[in-house]
């Protein structure tokens, strides 16, 4: 038996390292950190997050603050020069999913941006955070101040019962709706809570001082709805939710139109441009990109993994960028890019796995419906 996990050189530990070990986690290197891949097992954890509430440690992600000399003055327009989001029109304590772009419209990272009273709060991917910080330092106006909150931990509580569990120890969080955030307290610890996540479920992300992480994680995990969930199930949950993963489904060779991230490039920004790679990105939105990100459901039980070739008849039309077995649907699912002509819903395609062509069908995403709690719902 072989495991193809790549060894990484310097592995740092996260604030909850000791706690994960105490919970029986199996730890693996990921994005330069020792991270819990699973506790009781990926399928059980996955299903628990779908039916109750799962606690994820996402402290490897980068938390950044950007402010000007006078609070948020000028920060929104500076961010609009680097990303295609609408930040000037973003209300206080509201957040947007956005993309850090290079000059060709290639995606450097995907991230969450929140306007707060005195600053903008960004959450970026763990594997890209050093590059993101360097990029922001290089391209943001000099008068803006960028802080990397490397003394903050980040927890995610995801699932239909996350609100019950969290509101019990953090009163008021039930008033948040999807993509809004605010300052709260848990057992006297100041926390920044957003109603967001990356599993397709209702849920929260909780930023808190690293020194208090163990105490707060233990308190959340002590709620009857909650079990700790590892990276393995985090990946299968986000795949079922049709959400792209940076470094796999998104990278500098993909642009927002190809990736199907139209919601991240609102109408005003498409009309006005003024972000890196705007010409290519807007053209792809208007005229259609030559390839598109699609979802695939495979026949049988054999999963197709990242890198597997996708065929339409005899022609290779694309490549799988994420693939696995869906614990909720009990079938193999995948995400990948294919030529636009092959990207039509329900089209039968084939995926080559170890020399065999497996039948697959282009399927709508998300594979499992999102259950976000939106305004007015």
């Amino acid at each position: 038996m072989s495991d193809d996990a790549e060894p990484e050189e310097i592995i740092q530990t996260l604030p909850l390292d000791r706690w994960h070990h105490a919970q029986g986690a199996r730890m693996v290197p990921f994005a330069g950190y020792s991270m819990p891949i699973q506790y009781e097992g990926i399928i059980a954890e996955h299903l628990w997050a779908r039916e109750s509430a799962g606690l994820f440690d996402v402290s490897h992600m980068g938390q950044l603050l950007i402010r000007g000399e006078h609070g948020t003055d000028g920060v929104d327009t500076a961010l609009e020069a680097l990303m295609p989001g609408d930040f000037t029109g973003l209300g206080v304590d509201r957040m947007r999913y956005s993309l850090l772009l290079d000059d060709e419209g290639g995606i450097l990272d995907d991230l969450m941006v929140t306007r707060r009273t005195g600053d903008f709060y960004l959450v970026v991917n763990g594997a890209t955070k050093a590059d993101d910080i360097a990029h922001l330092h290089e391209y943001l106006p000099e008068e803006l101040i960028l802080n990397h909150l490397d003394d903050q931990a980040l927890l995610a509580l995801q699932g239909p019962k996350a609100v019950d569990a969290l509101a019990r120890i953090c009163p008021g969080v039930d008033m948040l709706v999807f993509m809004t955030a605010g300052a709260f307290e848990i057992a006297g610890v100041p926390v920044w809570v957003s109603r967001s996540g990356y599993t397709g479920e209702d849920g929260f992300e909780i930023s808190l001082p690293a020194a208090d992480a163990e105490q707060v994680a233990a308190l959340i995990a002590a709620q009857p709805e909650v079990r700790p969930i590892g990276l393995g199930a985090r990946d299968s949950l986000r795949l079922e939710a049709g959400l792209p993963l940076y470094g796999h489904d998104l990278d500098t060779t993909t642009d927002a139109a190809e990736a199907g991230l139209g919601f991240a490039v609102p109408k005003r920004r498409r009309a006005e441009g003024g972000f890196p790679g705007a010409t290519r990105t807007v053209r792809h939105f208007n005229e259609g990109a030559s390839r598109k990100r699609i979802g695939l459901i495979l026949a049988g039980r054999l999963p197709a993994r990242e890198g597997a070739a996708i065929f339409d008849g005899d022609d290779q039309v694309g490549t799988v960028t994420s693939g696995g077995f869906s614990p909720s649907l009990q079938v193999p699912i995948a995400m990948g890019y294919v030529a636009a002509a092959s990207a039509t819903l329900n089209r039968p395609l084939q995926i080559e796995v170890r020399g065999k062509r497996l039948d697959a069908t282009v399927a709508p995403m998300p594979f499992v419906p999102h259950r976000y709690v939106r305004q007015g719902s």
Binding site: M1, S2, D3, D4, R26, I37, Q38, G41, I42, I43, A44, H46, G232, D235, S236, R301, L302, P303, R305, G324, F325, P327, P332, R354
Partner: protein, 123 residues
């Protein structure tokens, strides 16, 4: 019947000239939930150390190597319907395939149960 173990976490249980092969309890615990097992065809020749099967967990595909050289006489059909047998009974009902040994002397380089346990404890 004697059981041997490899450093790649396969076990091979030998009786006369035939042997049964699977992955160890340690291996299944490392892999996590197993959702698919790709087995060699009956009649296939496998070489010691060569790829003989593929086990797919939720997260990844892993190769399973042949502990010794031989000809596959049977693949475990039960794994097709219930791949999770590898998790629940890795060294029993979750066996992968049986083979006719080509060279029984190849067994000499493998570990016995005590040596394998010591090997795992050192990982």
């Amino acid at each position: 019947m004697t059981t041997y173990y490899t450093e790649d976490h396969e076990w091979i249980s030998v009786e006369g000239g035939t042997a049964t092969v699977g992955i160890t309890d340690y291996a299944q615990a490392q892999l996590g939930d197993i959702v698919f097992v790709e087995l060699p065809a009956t009649g296939a020749n496998v070489a010691k150390g060569g790829e003989a099967a593929v086990v797919e967990s939720v997260k990844a595909a892993s190769d399973v190597f042949a502990p010794v050289t031989g000809t596959v006489s049977e693949a475990n059909a039960a794994l097709e319907a219930d791949p999770a047998l590898v998790n629940s009974a890795p060294e029993g009902e979750g066996w992968f395939f049986k083979l006719a040994l080509a060279d029984p002397s190849e067994l000499e380089g493998l570990m016995d149960a005590a040596a394998y346990k010591a090997f795992c404890d050192g990982l």
